[in-house]
């Protein structure tokens, strides 16, 4: 077995473990965050600051009775949680989480799959997630679940388009579909004020695109204010109303992992991906390692800064969830087709002009 293969296995393991461990952490963050924003304390009994609450929840999910209601279509009913969980894991594959390191003249990439069509892959797979929801809704044979599934499907339709269009701006600026190239672009200098240099972060060159993408990311991950597929107040729990125990937990895991991927994408496209956070360069220079060790250290710091960026956006998802009320269904459609679509088009036109006149 050569080094590349071993490294690939290590990467796979790392990404899968990292994604799974995001779930309990986010469960805790969400519950405590919600509580604190609503002037409550939230779960604080299990372990320090209630950190073990997620573990307790998981144990509860495992030990609950895993019943299948009599009226469901069993095969799609049982497949649906898997169908929504699998794409959630798959999308993260093309997101680079650190720069390359060189060992024995071999280049090692911190990205599970180096695809030239990086982006298209993400959009293709991410929209598969909705199949899980539709399957769950259809197999549950329940009006609420069906409504949730239908809503989710039409929501996907109206938000996938502006999402795809909003990203075209970044692709135009980078001239590549590859996320590695897009990250590399964002390390260049846009302009400088004195000795302070402002990098070409996506947010600076594509502010409008960023807003559209952010909005669509919320819709894509079925999070509030766009969680119409769940809609506790009108659909009770929507598509997963007939699910319990671990099957329900799998839908929840899929939601959180989708959130991680969405955060990773936002960070990669608009906030420089794994580029070091301000100040980290100074630390690296202070430690001053060269060669392979230096590379490893740099990769470690890059992973850390990418992790921090993702963490911020995960927190942002939670923050928005407990701030904004849910959209009404027609308002949601209006926003998607009548506001975000035209804005995304305008954004493309503007970017094309800027690229042609070599401003960015």
């Amino acid at each position: 077995m050569d080094n590349q293969f071993l490294f690939m296995l290590a990467k796979l393991l790392f990404v899968v473990v990292a994604l799974i461990s995001v779930v309990p952490i986010m469960l805790w963050v969400e519950r405590r965050g919600a509580a604190l924003m609503q002037n409550r304390l939230g779960p604080n009994r299990a372990g320090p600051f209630g950190l073990l609450q997620a573990l307790a929840d998981m144990i509860k999910f495992f030990w609950k009775e895993d019943g299948v209601p009599g009226h469901v279509r069993a095969v799609p009913y049982l497949c649906a949680p898997l169908v929504s969980l699998a794409p959630a894991f798959m999308t993260f594959a093309v997101i680079p989480f650190a720069g390359n390191i060189i060992f024995n003249n071999e280049v090692f990439e911190f990205q599970v799959a180096h695809l030239d069509v990086g982006f298209l892959y993400i959009f293709a797979i991410a929209s598969l997630g909705v199949y899980g929801i539709v399957m769950a809704g259809w197999a549950s044979q329940s009006a609420y679940a069906m409504m949730g599934a239908l809503r989710s499907a039409s929501q996907l339709m109206s938000y996938e388009l502006p999402m795809g269009l909003s990203v075209i701006g970044v692709i135009l600026a980078a001239g590549s579909f590859q996320l590695q190239d897009i990250v590399a672009l964002q390390s260049q200098e846009l302009f400088h004020i004195g000795s302070l240099s402002i990098p070409k972060l996506g947010i600076f060159i594509q502010p409008l695109g960023f807003l559209i993408f952010l909005t669509c990311a919320f819709a894509e991950t079925n999070r509030l204010p766009f969680d119409l597929a769940e809609g506790e107040s009108e659909l009770i729990a929507g598509y997963h109303i007939e699910y319990g125990a671990m099957k329900f937990a799998m839908f929840m895991m899929a939601e959180y992992i989708n959130m991680t991927t969405a955060s990773g994408l936002i960070a990669t496209l608009y906030f420089g991906g794994f580029q070091l956070l301000p100040g980290m360069h100074t630390v690296l220079d202070l430690i001053h390692l060269t060669g392979f060790e230096g590379d490893c250290l740099r990769a470690g710091f890059q992973m850390l800064s990418f992790g921090l960026k993702i963490a911020f956006f995960m927190w942002f998802f939670v923050w928005v969830r407990w701030t904004l009320p849910r959209f009404r269904y027609d308002q949601l459609m209006d926003l998607g087709w009548k506001v975000l679509m035209p804005l995304a088009m305008v954004n493309i036109a503007l970017t094309v002009m800027l690229v042609v006149y070599k401003v960015i």
């Binding site: 965050g33 604190l36 924003m37 609503q38 002037n39 409550r40 304390l41 928005v320 701030t323 904004l324």
Partner: protein, 147 residues
Amino acid sequence: MLLSKKKGFFTRIYIVEIIQGLAITLKNFFFSRKVTIQYPEERRAYSDRFRGLHYIKATNGVENCTACMLCPTVCPAECIHIEAGEQADKEKYPVRFEIDLLRCCFCGMCEEACPKDAIKLSAIYEMATHSREVLRKDMLLEQRGNK
């Protein structure tokens, strides 16, 4: 009636409003006073008139109750069961006095009806048990309050 208010451009694109909303939740997150009562350690202070677990008031170790049967009569849930008996120094007394707490609705009518100032509702509200036993006389005689 549905009224549509004319909103300004900035209100309509929502972005400013959303940022204001986010600021409010963030302020709450960090600075608001948390209203949670951490139950086993802290308890909510109830009024003295709170109607909780019953007890029969005793004077000098003898229950005040004379088994007059007014409380089982008035009880809307019909959950008081009394068996009266006689004693040398006290004409009538309850041999058996049971309250089925699972049926009781804590209305306090028994307390109001009692002519002997015997049956009382204390301020105790933690009544969860592992069994469905009724509240017997020996339990009732435990002095749970000073009403």
